[in-house]
Amino acid sequence: MAKKQNKDVLVEVINLKEHFDIPMGFLKSKKLKAVDGISFKIYKGETLGLVGESGCGKTTAGRTLLHLYEPTDGQIFFNGKQVVTKEELEDFRQNASMVFQDPYSSLNPRMTVGDIIGEPLDVHKLYTTLGERAARIQELMELVGLSSEHATRYAHEFSGGQRQRVGIARALAVSPQLIVCDEPVSALDVSIQAQIINMFEDLQKKLGLTYLFIAHDLLVVRHISDKIAVMYLGKIVEMADSEEIFKNPLHPYTESLMSAVPSPDPETARKSKRIVLTGDVPSPLDIPSGCPFRTRCPKAFDRCSQDVPYLREVEPNHFASCHLLD
């Protein structure tokens, strides 16, 4: 951590858990451990990429971080403080916002784009006159590359890329420090993805934003993130700087995940060796004992079914949880 000491920590999450009760017949229920004890830090102005397959808990982690779900256990520190009271939560919501995956269902079809972007301003009473509100909406629309005459139109009149711009403008309305981006480009066409990714980068530079970037597309995550955390069945299995984790993956799951991404470069594709995992991700209702990855791990041995491996610093600034690394 010596290298990073001069940087400020914006978000610190310690042993965060989010369990849901799933009804299983009369008076019976089962615990779904969507997020099961994750810890990470995000430094000011940096991007942490959170990757994993569907059902690994990455979206739940993002939502719990924003207090959209009440955490089952664990602590979330924002600027060194925990959010406890209602006033603190209101204050927190002005400092953290979210961009959603689906630009179609996350915008109200009955509201004009101007009202969608202005809603957070209404909620937090961030203006004194209506003129001020309109000016702020216009400013936000310019920031995301929409022209101000779009303000009176409805979401259905826009293409996917433009809608995502509206979603981003809405997230920026409260001038947040942190934005949780939940798969913000996966619903967009390839040629539009690059526009939105560039915009995220520009906004970060301009406004000093901090991102938690949740995505399953590893090439996109690698492009945008400073650090990457890989999740599997509710746990972080590996975390390191993004270059480091791609060049030197330590956990067998990370290794196979990286190798499974089909490269869009024919030469690289021919050279690379795919590690194909057998089987499916187990149900999060029925997590295997010991290491959750052992049922698909090509390198699993006896100890993996007995002891749960913990995330520890294997190399400087490189965390992994695997018995093979002991």
Partner: protein, 350 residues
């Protein structure tokens, strides 16, 4: 003769707001045992091309022209019986979403044996044996048990395997895969792609791979058709398309994707948004987004012109380069003088 020959295929959707030319004159061939990729963004007409070949377009879509020849036999305008015999036995298809394309009220066994009973003279017992064999082939354990299960009891990856088993049960010559891995996670995608490669090598069928994922194209395909706004803008081998793209759209597409290294710096996006298919521009559909667009591009569509034996592209920039170098493009119907006259009429660089 190629196994499948598609010539100038045109498919339109007749909507309340006008005719949408979803596929507007596309041609390609597919040889035995080859993998052809069709790549494009949403709305480019790649799936409609696939649906047209199978002739499973739903209202208001209709094939309005062109020809599709399978082993020399014309499929456009063929009677229902011929098409019924073709589907599933000669050409079969797997779909993007394995959740919705399996029937939830029938067992896997029921759905798997349907095609076998329809297209072969196997008895029910033999059909079940064949179904078990197919389930084993696609790498699912416990085949007898699976036959009695319903689609909702299986995971996404397993459902896609069942779809593949269903499609391959009658040993088709061609498998059309419409975004077969888009709904799946990367590790499951890797499994399915590997399975498809293995089965292709074993059974020797040809595959048409429809996808928007350039990585999948590179992994699977021999040849690629790049589609934009219902037209093929470039055709070629994987190496030609990825290392020597000749259409500005292809170039832009390859520039805009992350390859996964920090050194690559900022991505270079294609500006603007995809075309509105109801208001197609007069000239090249990509011209409004193209930074090399010339006046001629806005006025006239460029035909797809062969550049080498396997590589062709529909872009005026190539014509301009060829004319400047004093070359005559092979097979180009446009002579130099004709091009010069177009150039002067439109003031090419203006």
């Amino acid at each position: 003769m190629s196994l499948l020959e598609v010539r100038d295929l045109r498919t339109s959707f007749f909507t309340a707001s006008g005719e949408v030319k979803a596929v507007d004159g596309i041609s390609f061939e597919l040889d035995k045992g080859k993998v052809l990729g069709i790549v494009g963004e949403s709305g480019s007409g790649k799936s409609v091309t696939a649906y047209s070949i199978m002739q499973i377009l739903s209202h208001p879509g209709k094939i309005v022209g062109g020809s599709i020849k399978l082993d020399g036999e014309e499929l456009v305008g063929a009677d229902r019986r011929t098409l019924r015999n073709m589907r599933g036995s000669k050409i079969s298809m797997i779909f993007q979403d394995p959740m919705t394309s399996l029937n939830p009220v029938f067992t896997i066994g029921n759905q798997l044996t349907e095609a076998i009973l329809l297209h072969t003279d196997r008895t029910r017992k033999q059909a079940i044996e064949r179904a078990i064999e197919m389930i084993k082939l696609v790498g699912i354990n416990d085949p007898e048990k699976r036959l009695k299960q319903y689609p909702h009891e299986l995971s996404g990856g397993m459902r896609q395997r069942i779809m593949i088993a269903m499609a391959l049960a009658c040993e088709p010559d061609i498998l059309i895969a419409d975004e077969p891995t888009t709904a799946l996670d990367v590790t499951i995608q890797a499994q399915i792609l590997e399975l498809m490669q293995k089965l292709q090598a074993e059974l020797g069928m040809a595959i048409i791979m429809v996808t928007h994922d350039l990585g999948v194209i590179v992994t699977m395909c021999d040849e690629v058709v790049v589609m934009y706004a219902g037209k093929a803008c470039e055709k070629g081998t994987v190496d030609e398309i990825f290392y020597d793209p000749k259409h500005e759209y292809t170039k832009g597409l390859l520039r805009s994707i992350p390859y996964g290294s920090k050194e690559e710096g900022r991505l270079i996006p294609i500006t603007g948004s995809p075309v509105d298919m109801l208001n197609m521009p007069q000239g090249c559909a990509f011209a409004p987004r193209c930074d090399k667009a010339m006046k001629i591009c806005l006025k006239e569509k460029c035909d797809i012109i062969p550049l080498t034996r396997s590589h062709s592209a529909a872009c005026w920039v190539n014509v301009k380069v060829a004319v400047e170098n004093g070359e005559i493009l092979p097979d180009s119907e446009l002579t130099e003088s004709e091009f010069r006259s177009l150039e002067s009429a439109g003031d090419l660089n203006g």
